[in-house]
Amino acid sequence: MTIPPTDLGERPPFPSGLGFDPATINTFMTNFGHTGFLGVRYRTHAENWIELELPWREDLVGDPETGVLASGPIVSLLDNATSMAVWVHRNSFRPQVTLDLRIDYIRAATPGKTVVAWAECYQLKQSMAFVRGIAHDGDINDPVAHAAGIFIQVDAEGWSRETVGAQ
C-alpha cells in the first residue's frame, strides 16, 4: 500500500513559453499540491484530450463500510483532467480558472480499482474553453462519472471591468 504524502509544498509556476509537455506536467502533478496529495498521474494525451489516473487509496475513501472512494477525489481528478485538456488543445500553459463544473455520478467506483479520467476540450473560444470528461475504472463504456465544465481564459483579451473593492 502506498503511504499518503503529508506535506508536499506547492508547485512552482510553469516555465513561460513551454509547450504542452507530459514529462513536466507529470513531475509537477505528482510531486506537489493537491494532485500530489491525491496521487494523480498522467497516462496519455492527443490533440485535444488527455487521460489521467487516480489509484485507489484507503484515506481517500468516502464510505469506510464499503471502501468506495469519496466523490471529492473524483471531482478533483475530472477538474484537473478537463483543465489540462485545454492546455493540450492550446499546446501551452495559459492561465485559466474554473467557471463551473458539473458532475453526474453514474455509479460508485469499484473499491481498490484505479479511476481513470478521460477529458477533452471540445470547443476552445477566445475567452472560454468548453470541456467534458468521463471517469471510469477500466471500461469507458461503464462509466463512474460524467463531467461538463467551462474554464475562463484569464489573459484572453487583456481587459477586465474595473470594480470597486473587488477581490
Binding site: 508536499l8 471529492g72 463551473d100 477581490q167
Partner: protein, 139 residues
C-alpha cells in the same frame, strides 16, 4: 447538546475529509459549519486552492448538513451522491476556508442540498453548489 452533535458529526466524517483536514467547527442556524486550514495538499496553481478541493469540501458540507437535518434517522440511511454542480466565484487564497450546506428538500428518496464556501468574509463566497443525493436504507 450542540457539542454532542458536533462531536457526533465529526466522528462520522469520512477518511477523505479527515485526510484533507476538514473539521466540523460550529453550528450556525442549525447547520454544521465545516472548516479546513490552508495546506499544500489542497493547492492547485501556486497560492490558490484547487477547484477539486473546494468542490470536495462543498460535498462534505452538504453531507454533514443532510446528516444533521435527518437527525437520528440519518444513522439508518446511506446517501449516494447523484450529481453536483459547482460555481466558482473567487479564487481560494492562503486562508482558512469555511463551508456550510443547507437542505432545500429531503424527500423520501431524494435530497437536494445547496452549499457555500467562504474565507475571511461570509458575504464573499468562494464557490457555491447544488447537489442531489439518493437516500437508501443501510443494508
Amino acid at each position: 447538546m450542540t457539542d454532542d452533535l458536533i462531536e457526533k458529526l465529526s466522528a462520522q466524517l469520512p477518511p477523505y475529509a479527515k485526510a484533507m483536514g476538514m473539521m466540523v467547527d460550529h453550528m450556525a442556524e442549525g447547520a454544521p459549519v465545516l472548516t479546513m486550514d490552508y495546506a499544500s495538499r489542497a493547492v492547485g496553481r501556486p497560492g490558490f486552492l484547487h477547484g477539486g478541493a473546494i468542490a470536495g469540501m462543498l460535498e462534505i458540507a452538504a453531507i454533514v448538513a443532510l446528516r444533521a437535518h435527518l437527525g437520528d434517522e440519518g444513522m439508518t440511511v446511506r446517501f449516494k451522491p447523484i450529481n453536483i454542480s459547482v460555481e466558482y466565484l473567487r479564487g481560494g487564497v492562503q486562508a482558512q476556508t469555511f463551508a456550510m450546506g443547507s437542505v432545500i428538500r429531503a424527500g423520501r428518496r431524494i435530497a437536494n442540498v445547496r452549499a457555500e464556501a467562504w474565507q475571511a468574509d461570509r458575504d464573499k463566497p468562494l464557490a457555491s453548489c447544488w447537489m442531489n443525493f439518493l437516500l437508501k436504507p443501510k443494508s
